[in-house]
Symmetry: D2
Subunit: 324 residues, 4 copies
Amino acid sequence: MQLGMIGLGRMGGNIVRRLLRGGHTAVVYDRDPAAVEALVAEGATGAADLAEFVEKLDAPRTAWVMLPAGAITEATVAELGGLMTSDDVIIDGGNSFYKDDIRRAAALRAKGIHYVDVGTSGGVWGIDRGYCMMIGGETVAIDRLDPIFRTLAPGEGSIPRTPGREGRDPRAEQGYIHAGPSGAGHFVKMVHNGIEYGLMQAYAEGFDILKHAASPDLPEAHRFELNIGDIAEVWRRGSVVSSWLLDLTASALAGDENLEGFSGFVADSGEGRWTLNAAIEESVPANVLSAALYARFRSREDASYADKLLSAMRKGFGGHQEPK
Amino acid sequence: MQLGMIGLGRMGGNIVRRLLRGGHTAVVYDRDPAAVEALVAEGATGAADLAEFVEKLDAPRTAWVMLPAGAITEATVAELGGLMTSDDVIIDGGNSFYKDDIRRAAALRAKGIHYVDVGTSGGVWGIDRGYCMMIGGETVAIDRLDPIFRTLAPGEGSIPRTPGREGRDPRAEQGYIHAGPSGAGHFVKMVHNGIEYGLMQAYAEGFDILKHAASPDLPEAHRFELNIGDIAEVWRRGSVVSSWLLDLTASALAGDENLEGFSGFVADSGEGRWTLNAAIEESVPANVLSAALYARFRSREDASYADKLLSAMRKGFGGHQEPK
Amino acid sequence: MQLGMIGLGRMGGNIVRRLLRGGHTAVVYDRDPAAVEALVAEGATGAADLAEFVEKLDAPRTAWVMLPAGAITEATVAELGGLMTSDDVIIDGGNSFYKDDIRRAAALRAKGIHYVDVGTSGGVWGIDRGYCMMIGGETVAIDRLDPIFRTLAPGEGSIPRTPGREGRDPRAEQGYIHAGPSGAGHFVKMVHNGIEYGLMQAYAEGFDILKHAASPDLPEAHRFELNIGDIAEVWRRGSVVSSWLLDLTASALAGDENLEGFSGFVADSGEGRWTLNAAIEESVPANVLSAALYARFRSREDASYADKLLSAMRKGFGGHQEPK
Amino acid sequence: MQLGMIGLGRMGGNIVRRLLRGGHTAVVYDRDPAAVEALVAEGATGAADLAEFVEKLDAPRTAWVMLPAGAITEATVAELGGLMTSDDVIIDGGNSFYKDDIRRAAALRAKGIHYVDVGTSGGVWGIDRGYCMMIGGETVAIDRLDPIFRTLAPGEGSIPRTPGREGRDPRAEQGYIHAGPSGAGHFVKMVHNGIEYGLMQAYAEGFDILKHAASPDLPEAHRFELNIGDIAEVWRRGSVVSSWLLDLTASALAGDENLEGFSGFVADSGEGRWTLNAAIEESVPANVLSAALYARFRSREDASYADKLLSAMRKGFGGHQEPK
């Protein structure tokens, strides 16, 4: 089956590669001609601009937009909307905000164009491991694209089947789902990332406690010098906390248990924030997911105004001076 | 190799079974004679009381105590200490507090008895999946018991090896480690459980947000009726949040997506509390692990005094009445 | 000076009363004619609809809208915008979202109408104690209305002056400020309420800990039966935690130390949520303010889906049954 | 009435001064002879060592120990216990852990010596404003010392009486209470400090959000340059968040709105930690009080191991590099 891909960065490029390997064909476009050339060398058809891109696609067309969420995705979808025609499909595979999907889908529906939002997880490992996909949009479009999704998905692999799923949607066991109408794909992916932040922070706090078990502030008899890397490794087998994130942690710690190469400045990509906004809108308590996001905010500050204010109050009531 | 086991509940009994299957021999004791009989039928040697239990063990003896943490473990270890002799080993495989281990080990060391604390993870699945073990104590005793630990551990299994671990302690890849001196095993297991609580709460909050995406409080255009079970399933393959806890979640949701069978009263077993105590002692921020524990506390209250006080204040300043 | 008031509920009505007492005049309107009549009896001029209301005001007119935030305020401001003319002032004294203020002010500015947003704190006590006001909008309008604000504000009262404020805006010491351009008044009021939630929750948790000091789960030697009401009272004098909220708490506890009259269902009014949205937008860590809001969310649930999921996972890995 | 004071630091010295002003007499001792001399010059009787100190007191003696909690208080109470006799009173006015009080009181009771724990709040302001006192111990001793406590307490002052307290213990309105048996005084003071941390952090987060309203990361139309000092001041009058801590905040911000003089390194004094330990023991959720303490822990770290681990995981799954 043919797919058009716009945006040939790490994610877009590898998705095309996985499709080509799976016997599909691809028309590709990127602002950077070198990126186009690279994929042409691997068997894709290149395009020099969006108009040519659309022209080279067979109707009904499928254009997958894999660009940073925000202005550039918005503009590209709008431009594609002008170039494409009824029954074509535009996929937004980036990390767009789900309310933007809902709005865009309604606008394109007026022209008969299908809009499909695909949240993808898998990162740099996806090309080999497959991409876990959460898909929102109309059934007709998503069913038509099933061969694409099936190829991109990880498949059942060596992961044991969940008992009791007989008769349920088999796509979930292949690693992709039709989550609901437009926006549902990115909504589910958004919450996925919110959970991801929470899981990461749970490990981070736990390993921090293990690391500080050697703290000189503790009574000597209660101190432990622990081998953090071996602990991460041992938990990978048979423990309740085993996970892919733990695998990655064990791998990082095998290289450098003290993580000297990292400054501890931790970015966040938007989905964690939107997940909290959703929790707040829904009146759902989310202390863990919030704390996980706030830890990242805090990691990016040196001396926060909040902390200075605490010091100022302490000086006010107790005459406490800050330590030198 | 021979092991003595005291406490033949779900954990102790299955550990003996796994050892018997692995070619070891066992002397077993439990207050409940039926539990002893059951294991005798499977090939173990039974004892009617602790004295007989110790007598039936070959020197140097190894007695594994697998009882609820607290008074009963304390009393049993003390009694064993009186019955056993120099170079014998007492293992506490329960969930004891690590400071109790440190104290007990020092007391037994005076008699020449080795005290080994083993934190085990794996729950009811351990008999087949193996037990992940974190072990504290003297090297001489732990090395002597290696055949036991090797049999109980999950082994390398199908889990890919972590790159960069060449030259490191190979036991971690088998699923057990010698974490450090007395108490270190239970300390690491304690933090393991603290992390476990955090991971569980991250999933719980995320799925709660997914569930409430259909809330009638949201604007209709932004609502989603999501298939929670399929979402849990799809994340098992290729996603960043895949884990054993997610496998269990998918399994529970396959049975009943609305979890009607659960009241939402969530117990905690002590290690989560001790983990926070350790974090506080070490001055390590642990917002996620704390929030996870507090969510369990809160799940067990109907109308908290704290909440009533908020209502009382609201009435005081704003004349706000509580809704009927 | 003359003020028009739309919305004669508890807040709007009392603001008019305080103005009349202070020698000002008022034109008043409410959908409920009885509310209008009541204030006419106290010396205000009544109006039967918005058109008559605007007609009875002397140019340049000032119309204070004191209605629930949301659709009704939006519609009323829009209708007033159609009836009023250049140099008139519309005040939104409710709890509007600051981004709505910014939008409305821009729309009205095109017609030469000034839009002023006033965040007011003081609740039912304001009529006697005065209203603390945070004001956003153009200087020309806010300066013109100064006699109104001065009368409504608490004034310096018996509160000691803050040293070092010489040469700073004297209005702050009277209990009102011009916080900035349109939206700034409601923004500051919004954060005020966010802080209010945090303060309330800090007291609530603390008193909860005092209450549970008698818990039968504690060792008997470490239990205390504390007189919660006396504790609240004693902290009012000379302690670091004295505050107006504590005064209200002491008052509530003097009546009923066990707060039997409250169900513990705690509402929230929007500003706490917006405060978190602002924190998230600004990348400011806000664990305390978030936890305070989430505690209210949680107070309104019986058995949360999140908690049920924790139980389901526990059953999955440990065979733990929920307690009956 | 006569009081003996051991420890003439800021707190102990000022307590003696307030007592002398109130017509009481004092015997004083400090390791630093200059501190003793200073108070002798103000009318106290000095002592060169503990033995002389006890000798100079009239039976039944009262010795107030005002030293840092921990080893030095422990040793001093023990030494006093050896020097004093039946019916004498030892007061620990420091910030001792309440379980230490319970233990010490039991030990001294065997000798007939009364042990009284006094938690005091008021800081450097207490000499003039009075000390808020929470007192634990036997009624007979606390009643005997009432003239001392009455003089030290703030008294009713200008603070309005709480309605509905008729018939309740009048001491609470004077600023001191007999909270319960030994330990109760320090327990209540401990929770007081836990609440204090929570209140401070609520303000700190709120003001941080106000400060960052000018963040260049926000859309320009939604940014505000707020006058933080004026906001703190205006909230002191008529607002729901007025408090003594807010008074101190306004005072600090009047001097330097940007708090340039503070590094943001925030100490904690032990009671916040113990409050959390108590909450955990009692199964009381305490997200706000925990977050307040953790914010202080975090303020004292530069690049936390937890944050580095997050970066390491992010690199693992997404190839994300940390920003330079």
